[in-house]
């Protein structure tokens, strides 16, 4: 039995002013999969990721053509509520960006904005559950009032993941979440991605091909704004169909 895909992108093009950054990309993200976007710098993979929760709206010159459906609903439709969309499609950034607030307040930020907790006890529970899922609870449970910016880089990134999952999103977008972290912190995040898989659809942009191979079930290879190949991860890395994919994963360029 197959479910319809969580996200369906159809013929998506993105322009910055007159420059085309993404060229007619179509891709499906399944409900319980981790999809990795790989490709050389400037290939548009982050740009494409940011169209999935309309973060490109914050760039004044950006324009998106084509259609992106979330559960069959066009997210660029005029009556789409961006606030609701972003609550359903969470995001983790390249550089950990906890707010200069306490650990507790960082995680409670989303539930507070969206009015998810009726009472303080509910909020406490949400914060604890999110921190547990992000694998951070044991490390911070005794210092929830400390500033989130005082944590180590890896802890900050897991705090950002906890913050994202606190509003119970359906999709989590990760934009090179480990590029600012050391190998140990990276391993922890990858482990976390494994645990989160199934509960959320996850899209991760990464420069690190081993990482893509380790965490994802499907991989999309982008080059110069085009989607070159999108296939199960094992196929991409062992038996790519496209010449350009083969060249990239064997390290011939990029």
């Amino acid at each position: 039995m197959t479910f319809p895909p969580k996200i369906q992108a159809r013929d998506v093009s993105v322009f910055y002013g007159d420059t085309r950054a993404i060229d007619h990309v179509s891709i499906d993200v399944a409900q319980d999969n981790v999809v990795a976007f790989i490709g050389p710098s400037g290939c548009g993979k982050s740009t494409f990721l940011r169209t999935l929760n309309r973060m490109n709206d914050t760039v004044a010159s950006a324009r998106v053509d084509g259609q992106i459906l979330l559960d069959g609903e066009d997210i660029y439709a005029p009556d789409m509520d961006v606030v609701q969309l972003r609550a359903r499609v969470g995001m983790v950034f390249q550089k950990p960006n906890p707010f200069p607030k306490s650990i507790y307040e960082n995680v409670a930020y989303g539930p507070r904005i969206h009015g998810l907790a009726a009472a303080r006890a509910d909020l406490d529970e949400m914060v604890e559950r999110s921190l547990r899922r992000a694998g951070l609870w044991d490390e911070v449970k005794d210092r929830l009032d400390d500033s989130g910016t005082a944590l180590s880089g890896g802890q900050q990134q897991r705090l950002c993941i906890a913050r994202a999952i606190a509003v119970d999103p359906e999709v989590i977008l990760m934009d090179e979440p480990c590029s600012a972290l050391d190998p140990i912190a990276t391993a922890k995040i990858e482990e976390l991605i494994h645990e989160l898989k199934g509960r959320y659809a996850i899209v991760i942009v990464t420069h690190n091909m081993q990482q893509a191979a380790r965490v994802s079930q499907q991989t999309a290879f982008f080059h110069l704004g085009q989607l070159v190949e999108f296939a199960p991860t094992s196929d991409i890395f062992t038996n790519p169909r496209e010449e350009r994919t083969r060249d990239y994963i064997t390290g011939r360029y990029g």
Partner: protein, 458 residues
């Protein structure tokens, strides 16, 4: 030789030194020795500086000490024995004699001054001659000594560099020393004041009427508390009630909402407010705002609405301060990393929620610092209150009542005829010192706050 002539002569000598040394150094090039450390111009500058600097330093020191030496010489003459004991009269006779001696005035009020005038003229002439000779000698000596060092292997370039460094150091020291001097004179005069009036009575006394100071108990009518309150009320309460919300909101609009095109013309226009001369704000306050405020007060049933109300001065001062608050807030909001903003937006927060819950808390220290600087400027502001605020000191919470400020009172105390030694005049210095202490403290606190905040993001 006149002072101006002397300066020109010394400068001329320096110019000659520069030219000669340059020409001399130019001849070094001919044999084409390896490489010179200095170009001919550097040798020229070296000799020029060595010619100019010693006499200038000497003349600067001399001009500070010579008048005392001249006076000493005059006092040593027999005629000076008839001078009255030290005091106001003695000082005025001496100054008259000096003017006569220098040929700057025709007749004298005191006979004794006429007698002392020739002595003054002689002494002045003698010391002037000494100074001229010494200055020229120093110029020659400096120039000659420097010229003997002009050799191919002499690193004149490094020496000139050192001279430049010293000159720049002196330039910056002058500003610092001036500040120190001003503070010292403030403190000195204030100490004299506090000998007449106890500090406690001045700082906490509630009655201020310097027009009728009882010389036996000057403190009774020099209680400055109403002035401090008025200053605080106008500058820190009313003005800030206008400037903080407006400045902050315009900064938020400009940084977060305005399109680049809008921002490009709106920001400079807003900052133009800072370029309006304060005297223009002053008559705007006195002629336009004050009557309107009075009418408003009457209309809402306040019988004693003054036409020199605290509200009028404060409102206009607030308008004046808006660009300060907005540009400080603008800077600190812009300094919050874009990642914070994106993080919040990606959580589904709207722009205004992001600003309220993430951007402003993160920018708060910078904003607070900006507000403190604005307060410090507002309470030191003079022109608006001189023109629009009242001269009557009242302790009141009513913004429609007349209120006065420290700066306004300083102006009132020092304009018009007043003896320099009376408690009334000296009170101006004590007020100035208090104001200075408060604004200095505000500035220091503001800078510390801003600095600590900057460090947290770098």
């Amino acid at each position: 030789m006149s002072a101006l002539g002397l300066l020109f002569t010394v400068a001329g000598l320096a110019l000659i030194g520069w030219l000669v040394a340059r020409m001399r150094a130019a001849t070094f090039r001919r044999p084409r020795v390896a490489r010179f450390s200095a170009l001919p111009a550097h040798h020229g500058w070296f000799v020029g500086i060595c010619t100019l600097a010693p006499p200038l330093i000497f003349l600067a020191v001399w001009s500070a000490t010579a008048p005392a030496l001249v006076t000493d010489a005059v006092l040593a003459t027999p005629a000076a024995a008839m001078l009255p004991p030290p005091g106001f009269e003695r000082a005025s006779i001496l100054s008259e004699a000096r003017e006569l001696g220098a040929g700057r005035s025709q007749g004298a009020f005191h006979d004794l001054a006429e007698k002392l005038a020739p002595a003054y003229a002689r002494a002045q002439h003698r010391y002037d001659t000494i100074a001229t000779a010494a200055a020229l000698l120093l110029a020659f000596a400096g120039g000659a000594l420097a010229f003997t060092r002009v050799r191919p292997d002499f690193a004149a370039r490094t020496q000139v560099e050192r001279g430049v460094m010293l000159m720049l150091l002196v330039a910056s020291l002058i500003a610092i020393l001036t500040t120190v001097g001003i503070v010292a004179s403030l403190i000195y005069e204030s100490v004299r004041f506090f000998r007449l009036v106890p500090a406690g009575e001045f700082l906490f006394g509630t009655h201020w009427s310097p027009q009728v100071v009882d010389s036996r108990d000057p403190g009774a009518s020099l209680g400055a508390l109403p002035l401090f309150w008025g200053t605080f009320f106008i500058g820190a309460v009313i003005a800030m009630a206008v400037a903080v919300p407006l400045g902050l909101m315009s900064a938020i609009y400009l940084t977060q909402y305005a399109r680049p095109v809008t921002r490009r013309w709106m920001k400079p226009t807003l900052e133009m407010l800072a370029g309006v001369p304060t005297v223009v704000y002053g008559y705007f306050a006195a002629l336009t705002v004050a009557p309107a405020v009075r009418e408003l007060g009457v209309a809402i049933g306040i019988r004693w609405a003054s036409s020199e109300s605290a509200l009028a001065a404060g409102l206009v001062m607030g308008i004046m301060i808006i660009p300060f608050v907005s540009s400080m807030a603008d800077d600190s909001i812009a300094a919050v990393p874009a990642a914070m903003r994106d993080g919040s937006l990606a959580m589904g927060a709207t722009t205004s929620e992001t600003i309220r819950k993430v951007m402003l808390p993160a920018a708060l220290p910078g904003v607070v610092g900006g507000i403190l600087l604005a307060v410090s400027r507002a309470i030191g502001e003079t022109m608006i209150v001189v023109m629009a605020a009242s001269g009557v000191a009242t302790l009141t919470l009513n913004p429609f009542a007349s209120t006065t400020t420290v700066t306004k009172q300083i102006v009132d105390l020092l304009t018009g005829e007043a003896e320099f030694t009376s408690a009334k005049t000296l009170a101006a210095f004590a007020l100035g010192l208090t104001l200075f202490a408060v604004t200095l403290a505000l500035n220091v606190v503001a800078l510390v706050v801003v600095k600590r905040y900057r460090e947290s993001y770098e």
